[in-house]
Symmetry: C2
Amino acid sequence: MMTSLGDKGEGHRETTALLGNEDEGSVQTQTKVLNQGSWTQVSCPCCVSEQVEPLVLIQLSDNIQPVTKRWLISLIEVSERDGGAALLAHPGEDECGDVIVVSAPRCTLLRATEDLGLCKKYHNGDMVAFSYNDRDNFRNVDDMQEFLTLAERQYIVKYELDFLRAQKGQKIPGVPESQGVLKARENICQKLEKAGVIKDIFPLHDKQRLTDLCRNWYSGKQIWGQPLDSIQAYFGGTVGFYFSFLDFYTWALVPPAILGLVLTFLLPGGGSGAGVVKEQAGGVVEVDDSPSVSGHMVQAVFSMLWSTLVMEFWKRRSSSLSHRWGLLHLAERFAEPRPGFHGTLGINPVTGRLEPLFPEWQRQLRVGLVSVPLVGFFLGMVVLGMTGFYHGEALAQGFHQDSDSLFSGALLYLPSVAHIIYTNMLGNVYRTVAMQLTEWENHREESSFQNHHTTKVLLFTFFNYFAVLFHIAFYKQDLSLLRKRLASLLIVTQLVNQCTEVVVPFIVDRFFSAPQKKQQEDDPNVDKLRAQRSLPPFPGLFAEYIELLVQFGYLSLFSCVYPLTAVLLLLNNVTEIRADAYKICKLFRKPFSAPVSNIGVWQTAFEVLGFVSVMSNCWLLLLSPRVREFCLEGGISGRNIILFAILVEHVLILVKMILAFMIPDEPDWVRIKREQIEFHSMQALGQQKL
Amino acid sequence: MMTSLGDKGEGHRETTALLGNEDEGSVQTQTKVLNQGSWTQVSCPCCVSEQVEPLVLIQLSDNIQPVTKRWLISLIEVSERDGGAALLAHPGEDECGDVIVVSAPRCTLLRATEDLGLCKKYHNGDMVAFSYNDRDNFRNVDDMQEFLTLAERQYIVKYELDFLRAQKGQKIPGVPESQGVLKARENICQKLEKAGVIKDIFPLHDKQRLTDLCRNWYSGKQIWGQPLDSIQAYFGGTVGFYFSFLDFYTWALVPPAILGLVLTFLLPGGGSGAGVVKEQAGGVVEVDDSPSVSGHMVQAVFSMLWSTLVMEFWKRRSSSLSHRWGLLHLAERFAEPRPGFHGTLGINPVTGRLEPLFPEWQRQLRVGLVSVPLVGFFLGMVVLGMTGFYHGEALAQGFHQDSDSLFSGALLYLPSVAHIIYTNMLGNVYRTVAMQLTEWENHREESSFQNHHTTKVLLFTFFNYFAVLFHIAFYKQDLSLLRKRLASLLIVTQLVNQCTEVVVPFIVDRFFSAPQKKQQEDDPNVDKLRAQRSLPPFPGLFAEYIELLVQFGYLSLFSCVYPLTAVLLLLNNVTEIRADAYKICKLFRKPFSAPVSNIGVWQTAFEVLGFVSVMSNCWLLLLSPRVREFCLEGGISGRNIILFAILVEHVLILVKMILAFMIPDEPDWVRIKREQIEFHSMQALGQQKL
């Protein structure tokens, strides 16, 4: 498959050489399947170009009326002044087909670049927020392929489509009257999706670029790094930041892995050798397989400081990436509100534009008085489920000991089964509730919406993962059980993850999808677009981030119990990078990816975990049988050792806070660039009114 | 005194009525004593005015050479392009006198207003960062008395004087060669002060305005509020913010005072009635005079949440004041560095101006590797002194018990005396070290310098005040001693403060200064300036703030021990406001006051204290004999009660953090104004390059 695509790319390069623009081979790979003449015409002379690059595909319902499709195409094509999106539309293979391919002319792209607040290279090499009026001073402004990344061009198309607003009393032709009447300023795309006219909107892969990206990313000899710039250019900001974070985090695992190896194999009394966990009946103090006091403490203090340093240096890395990718001055606050936002129409006091308004205090009230209690209620339900499970298990065990029949033996499994069903049902209900709550909170900006939604789901998922471990550590206070549980979780979850993420998709792709593809490639004229439509939509990065967060949690919360955690995670992440890359490139539709300037709420989640880790580590140290032994030998009373642990905890938290405060969140050069822009805009404000 | 001044004011109002500008009575009060014709001439036609307002007085040495004075006057007068300050100078009574009176022409004032980033009322009523080019669109721009406050005009004169820079090889005429040669870009005013030519530079009081201010502030019937706007206008930003904070904080004391009264007098078992503290020999558990468990806990939880709420709402108040006073967009970062700043000459990468540069990382290294350890060392010395004192006391006590002679009786006082001397000496050394360290850290901005210096002195002073109390609470764990100590500290320090701050100055002013003043007023031509020169310089607001901080500390750290703390503090603060007002108006030279947008590092200090208070309150609850009794009765083990206290502490800290996060730091209307300005400057940046 790979080679045939490669050949294709080269074949096209010959064609492009004849046309005189070698760099754009990839565009023609795509455009060839579309008849260039069928694109709608551009109104502005500067936007006329010979080749139009298909960017986004609108998947319509099968039984779409031609009149509806024509109406939609005209809407896409018409200039913004007349209520359109000022984009280019192509009806696909034929006028009656169920797709519309959309592209964007130069002027629309440039204006949206300014609206979004993207920074681009100025003629002097600086990254400057793009200004349409000043466009001639920006580099590559005549070549949209160079000026904007593919992901940016595709996001802009979505951005323009999202802001198609209905005029008062407008009707959708070819759609029954009951569904087809639009209210004033109603979001047309949302309405069409509700009415079933639009099934999906997604960005198109660019086969040539994708092949190049894959070669540099995971299928070539590239072992130590990832082509982050190309990833960001092809997949966009959120995906670029995820892989950068994964990369950074994997490297950051090296020091704790080395420390874990040293403590386990080199130091005397250095802990439970990998996997050698002796099973012992509850409560008996076991001395043999726990790490020595000094090793234990070194590990705990190290992991507490390590977690702060990692997050502080990631912030610096993140802000340099964000500057490098021109995402440091996003103007989301000043742009149009997100499509789902509603409110009474009014003048935005900041920008002076007519748009729906929703008072901030009302949103805060909704968050504080409804969302927070509801989320708390669900977290309580998780805890309730867990205690119910323990209670039920004890009951079943007692019953089995009393009667010892086959029935009572089978009954032993009942609590587990009931708990799994309960947890799953609760999870499903919660996901729906979280999404609807966040919608109801009515956030103006997409990033704010995402952050609130992520926080809700995150808290719940995290509770689900860690409630049992916390229960063992803090309530049962059984270190050996904790160690056993942690080791099995780490090994089992990693194996399961690797299987589901790498092996299964690979097999599916190799043995099940390959014949289909071959068939398509036999017929060179078959619509490539159809192949992309058959892929499932990308499920988003939440699962990937939560995996990292849970890893980070195991490592920083409980690692002093099982020093080899970091080694296992490091091994896992090296394959994880490739697996995730393969997944996003091959197994799913390309996702839209908004320009973002950091990893958002995940940053906070990791930081909070860092602080919780101080408490859990101090507590685990206090529980450690070695430490107790040590105290007994030294004649220190139990009360004093607790007070000492509290003191240590407070000092460590203080040290973490001072460290976090002392390490600047952005490198000096980024700070200077940012201040330059602030200074210039201050000056500009003064001069503008001359 | 008051009446004679009042008469005078009215007399002048008659004169001004004749001149046709009634509002400026105060200007003539001042200018009358100076011969208007002796002012240096303005170069710019728009700055010509009939009356020049004397703003700042430069006090020269008695034996100043006329040639030096003439040189300095010419330097002040010459335009900035030629290396001068573009101000107006007046030689005082005669050419040979030891003063120069300085004023500023309109253009200099306006340009400096832009440099400092002050916001002023635009023609549409908004507060907009002033722009010289756009000056005609600002209100009152033709009347400097209305446009800028007196404090701003005076600060601008200082600002311009501070940036007089020498040309290469320039010499000061009339000063010996050894002292009189200036290096290139050397700070002329600093050099002249070092050479003894300038003794002091201070802003002049404006008698008429001052009298009006005093009447509205403390000597009139105004009881419930302070004229904050007038205070800010007359004394400037820092003073304005101090009195606003004092005002806000005093009101904030009302709820804890009411709670304290209720707990003490209304609830059964409600604590140690005011002052009824029984003396008991060490260690005996006393049950009678400690508050009940529930009262104790209500008090503790209340004071923890109260401290967060106070600081959060102060932040909101502070940002509205800052917007109201046009201080929300100060451009200190982009202005010239502070006079004491040095570095290698280079191009500032942000503003592109030639100025001394000093790398940020080097400053951070200095702070982290030298300042922090040194401050830590001095704090250690305080602790050492305290333990030495306790040790010495025990020794002396033992010796006295053994020998019981007159000599050993006298020896009992030795540890106290030695400790007081030690503490005083340490304090003096530390003050010098703190100032020099902060100078050496080489901060570019004045606010950053102030914050670092304040932090250093603050930490030390705070340690000095609280080390003993913390020692009693955490080490000796003696609640009754703590209660005794706290009550006596509160009563004694308040009495002493009130005496030194109110009674003594009042007596001095009434009986010792009054005859002098009378004599002066008999002779209407005597130089009013001379009277101001005889006042001592204003000692700054550090002592005032630290007094509030220590109060806040007593209240939030230990208040649950002595519930009437808030009542005493409230009484104290009501008089404190008047005393401070009287002090700053009458007893000292007027201070320069930089425009600032908040109370700076004091804000942080109060917030940190709020968090420490959670720990101390939880600890005190744990120690409380009632709680212990309660546990014994309930059969709860000591270990569990400690663990419970830790849990409560962590939950309360979490609640405080969530509260602090949930309450926005600025009111919505300030946020909108700020975002408006950000949006406009972003737009301006885009349009500027057209």
